[in-house]
Amino acid sequence: MISLIIKTKKHLKGINIRILKNQIFAGVVFVFSFITISPIVLIIYKLISKGYKQINLAFFTDIAPNTYEAMIALGNGETIPGGILNGITGTLIMVTMASIVAIPIGLLIGIFLYENNTKWYANIVRDITDILQGVPSIVLGLISYFWVVKSITHGFSALAGSTALGIMMLPLIIRSTEETLKMIPETIKEAGLALGVPYHKIILRVLIPTGFSGLLTGILLAISRIIGETAPLMLTALGSMGVNYNIGKPTSAVPLLIWEFYNDPNMVDLIWSSSLILMIFVLILNLISKHLIAKKNN
């Protein structure tokens, strides 16, 4: 046993090295963490610094310029005229349509999963929901192309676009609904049952109001997720020059406009301001959600 003690004393020298290694490790963690968050700072800086010049009221109320207008403006050294109105209306229309379908269905399925938590059938539904959540958005665009563009509207359309977006929203709303409801204490539901309240009223008058902020957060996050999607819309909505209110016809969207601007050498400068607007909307939605979560936790 004495040999043990000696061994330990020998290792006393190694202790300073260990303390040093400990500090180096912490230092590396620190540095890497800051490297990790640097893109967000850099990207936002880039968007703001290059995009702010273009933004004025007209940016929101004018439709996108065509390539000749842009070319002329560039030649004269002027800011490119026009705005992203057609994109904004297109996005609004498609997001609204997607939400009108995805929110109620998502809520219902979420409630179903919550009520039937342990049954084997519910587990299958949950697994399928999870699989659906992981499907790349381009695949959803392709699916919507066949289901809507080819079969229903016989041509690219806002309806097809919103279908793809709706399918994207659905799993997100389902899962967040289920998670929100699961966090409501059982006793609240039991209190309602004990008072003889009918099942559907418990859902409508007790569960949903109690979990309202959580449900709303899930919905807002789902919306913020689809607002920025480009790929599926390329296969479904295609884009349009002007504002379009006909859901059976092709329509623009903010990300689609950005893609068009990017691909057109005359309009490339518009990408920054449009991206900035897009980012601002996404960030606002995210901040509102975070605020709701924080309020709920208090």
Binding site: M1, L4, H11, G14, I15, I19
Partner: protein
């Protein structure tokens, strides 16, 4: 008026004016001074919130993990100021056993016993390792029970066995002092009895400081007892004397069950 033992001959641990606070105003431990006698069991008792665990954890500087905790005062180990020792050395000389048995779930029983060496990156020959594991497990009377299943995960033992494993883990470093923070409060009576018997055996080689909320336990196994209340050391004396004839009023109230 508090009555403290004025003088312990050559205390192995000497606590001098120790104060611990969680935020600037409130003191969880307020100006405690005491010498701990070698090879004895010293119990720290008191009602919930009196600061006994905080005092115990200050001895092996567990509070340095939590930045909002401030510690003042000095603790000497074998005459040497512990603040001159690094955390690593200090914690090899002073081992700790926790309230809930916490063997490492991903390690086998064998590895749990020498976990201290593994965590510190100390390389020892297999023969020495085997020697340490067997000795430590024998010392806690676990060897016969587990010698054929040393490769099983530590969490497959009963609560009492797990706690003895944790004690073995602390013994593997041959520390001077073993700190135990309510080690039997999560165990059933039979396991508790085994641990208590173990501690009485261990005091021959080690110095034991034990926090307990169970007065009966303190009276059963400890040689010296400290009574704390609201962060202060109210009374400190030989256990027998304190229980039969407490000097301080508060001590008497506690011992007669007026508050817990």
């Amino acid at each position: 008026m508090s009555e403290l033992i004025k003088h312990i001959e050559a205390p192995v641990l000497d606590i001098k004016n120790l104060s611990v606070s969680y935020n600037k105003e409130k003191y969880a431990v307020a100006n405690v001074s005491a010498g701990i006698k070698k090879n004895r069991i010293t119990a720290i008792m008191g009602p919930s919130g009196c600061g006994k665990s905080t005092l115990l954890r200050a001895i092996n500087r567990m509070h340095s993990l939590y930045p909002n905790i401030e510690t003042k005062g000095q603790i000497d180990l074998n005459g040497k100021d512990t603040s001159t020792m690094s955390d690593i050395i200090l914690r090899r000389k002073i081992g700790m056993v926790f309230q809930r048995p916490n063997p490492f779930p991903t390690m086998s029983i064998y590895d749990n016993v020498i976990a201290g060496y593994k965590l510190n990156g100390i390389r020892i020959k297999k023969s020495e390792r085997d020697e340490i594991v067997e000795k430590s497990l024998r010392d806690v009377s676990l060897w016969d029970e587990v010698k054929d299943s040393l490769t099983n995960k530590g969490t497959f033992l009963s609560g009492g066995q797990q706690q003895r494993l944790c004690i073995a883990r602390a013994l593997a470093f041959l520390p001077d002092i073993i700190l135990l923070d309510e080690p039997t409060s999560a165990l059933d009576p039979i396991a508790t009895k085994k641990v208590e018997e173990l501690l009485i055996e261990l005091k021959e080689k080690y110095t034991i400081i034990l926090v307990t909320h169970n007065m009966a336990q303190a009276s059963r196994i400890s040689d010296y007892s400290m009574f704390m209340y609201l962060g202060e050391l109210i009374e400190y004396g030989k256990t027998k004397n304190m229980f039969i004839n407490p000097i301080n009023e508060k001590t008497e109230e506690y011992l007669t069950g007026k508050f817990s």
